[in-house]
Amino acid sequence: PYYTSICTPIVDDCLNVPAVAVGNVGQLAVDLVVSTLNMSRVGYFHTDCLIPMAGNNPYASCKDDTEELHTPAEVYTAAELKLAVLQIRAPILQTRSKRFRQQLVSWIKASGFSRTVVLSSSHAYQRDDQQLQGTPLRYLITPSLLTTSADALKELSWREMERMPAFPGVKDADAEPRLCIPGGGITKGLYTDSCAEDLPLAVLLLFCSEGDNIPDAFALVNHLNDWLHLLDEPNRKWKVPSSWSLLFGSGIPPALF
């Protein structure tokens, strides 16, 4: 009911979904994927769980395609790569976060994606002593996807997201270490729901802080690329979309100086 297709049904593709999380890193990474691979829009995810917004084409590259309206959640595909992407451009309404997760999971199930990769982030300041060292990138994978991707992951030698003790510093044998993704929005819920529904899903996340998160986006998307090989030619670079301008406000008034 909330997915409106414009054309071409999606089947068997790999789906990338960003979580609206700290620094908007997942969403920025998805922007890079869509912009670089010149993906075409194939559907709208029209839901009451997102704050409405609208704007012209954020990936416009020439005069012809600038005036094309884009909505808060849209699906893009790159058929030759068997890749689909759901880009989310607006915050999820706080009271509807669970419902949005359910809508997302049921849409993923109904569409039959071969696997889903969630791009996300987590508050860097909440890392524990162990996590402060080494790479800031982490992954999570559902049992269903592990069966097919275990070898690839071993080769990449990625670090799995650690389970945290419920009460750090308190030696309590009863409290099981649990998964904690502070600042990750619906990431944890999406992961646990997917485990429960036996969906092939992986989460790629980055520890970061709010600020200029463009370098974080590049880090995450390159990490994703190491696995999915979306950008394989050696000299190809990620293309920054035209909407990534004036991120810190308008031009400065000359009278200021």
Partner: protein, 280 residues
């Protein structure tokens, strides 16, 4: 998070709110309170008797042109240049209670501030003036409920919306003399030519105009939003007059015969309250 000097500060994210880690088991009382709050925030449409009768029999309102004004200046523009011709019937109102609605005994003015009008001679032209705040969680519902009543074939939607020029991002510093100005955004089904330049990257629109435009884009309805960026926060006659180019697209038959005098304009603008005289 700890700063260099050793203070501990809370960290806010622009993307996510501080949320509960575990989903707390709500007891029945919590759930009931939550449900009641949700019901109180629901959007209600109250149509005039003949429209109610029409909708009850399973039909939809024949509508070829739906003009929506969001904000005091946009609403004043429609009131002065279109509704003042006295050829309009009040067709209904939409009620949406939220934290910004003024509470008080009886019906407050803010609550009924989404009024629908239908033209007497051309009943397929519908106008709505929205001068109250519709909360983020009510925007989608408002849009769906209103458009559910309208037949969408051959429907053309025009939205006028007030905005502060502080929200407009441009690489060249905008000196105040260029405001107020119009920018447009339209759905893919809109085939006409807007009366002003298109909204440049990286600007976006939010609120009711965005919700309406999203709906029209997904349902392939021709729609255009004219957003007026003004440097005046409240009601202002210069801002109201900057919507004039839109008149060319609204159809001569529904407009007033002669442009309103400044006295008439002032009358409409006075209806908005002065919020504070701290900055006169």
């Amino acid at each position: 998070m700890a700063t260099f000097f050793g203070e501990v500060l809370s960290v806010y994210s622009r993307a996510v709110e501080e949320e509960d880690e575990e989903e707390l088991d709500e007891n029945e009382e919590d759930e009931q309170i939550r449900r009641e709050l949700e019901e109180k925030r629901a959007v209600h449409l109250h149509w005039s008797p003949d429209v109610t009768e029409l909708l009850r029999s399973g039909n939809k309102l024949q509508c070829s042109s739906f003009i929506l004004a969001v904000g005091h200046n946009a609403a004043s523009f429609l009131s002065a240049y279109v509704l003042a011709s006295a050829n309009w019937d009040a067709a209904g109102r939409a009620l949406a209670w939220n934290e910004r609605s003024r509470s008080g005994a009886g019906r407050s003015g803010e609550e009924s501030a989404c009024v629908f009008y239908r033209h007497k001679d051309e009943p397929s032209v519908l106008i709505c003036n929205v001068t109250c705040h519709i909360a983020e969680d009510q925007l989608f519902e408002w849009t769906e409920k209103v458009f559910d009543c309208l037949q969408s074939r051959e429907l053309a939607v025009t939205v006028l919306s007030d905005r502060s020029v502080a929200d407009y991002k441009t690489p060249d510093y905008l000196c105040s003399s260029s405001a107020p100005f119009l920018r447009s955004l339209h759905s893919s089904a809109f085939a006409d030519r807007p009366v002003c330049p298109s909204l440049e990257q990286p600007n976006i629109i939010t609120g009711l105009p965005a919700a309406v435009l999203n709906h029209c884009q997904v349902h392939r309805i021709a729609a255009v939003v004219y957003q007026c960026y003004s440097d005046v926060a409240g009601p202002d006659s210069v801002t109201v007059e900057s919507y004039k180019p839109v008149l060319n697209k609204l159809g001569r038959s529904i407009q007033v015969n002669s442009p309103p005098s400044t006295d008439v304009l002032r009358k409409f603008l006075r209806s908005a309250e002065i919020q504070s005289n701290l900055y006169i």
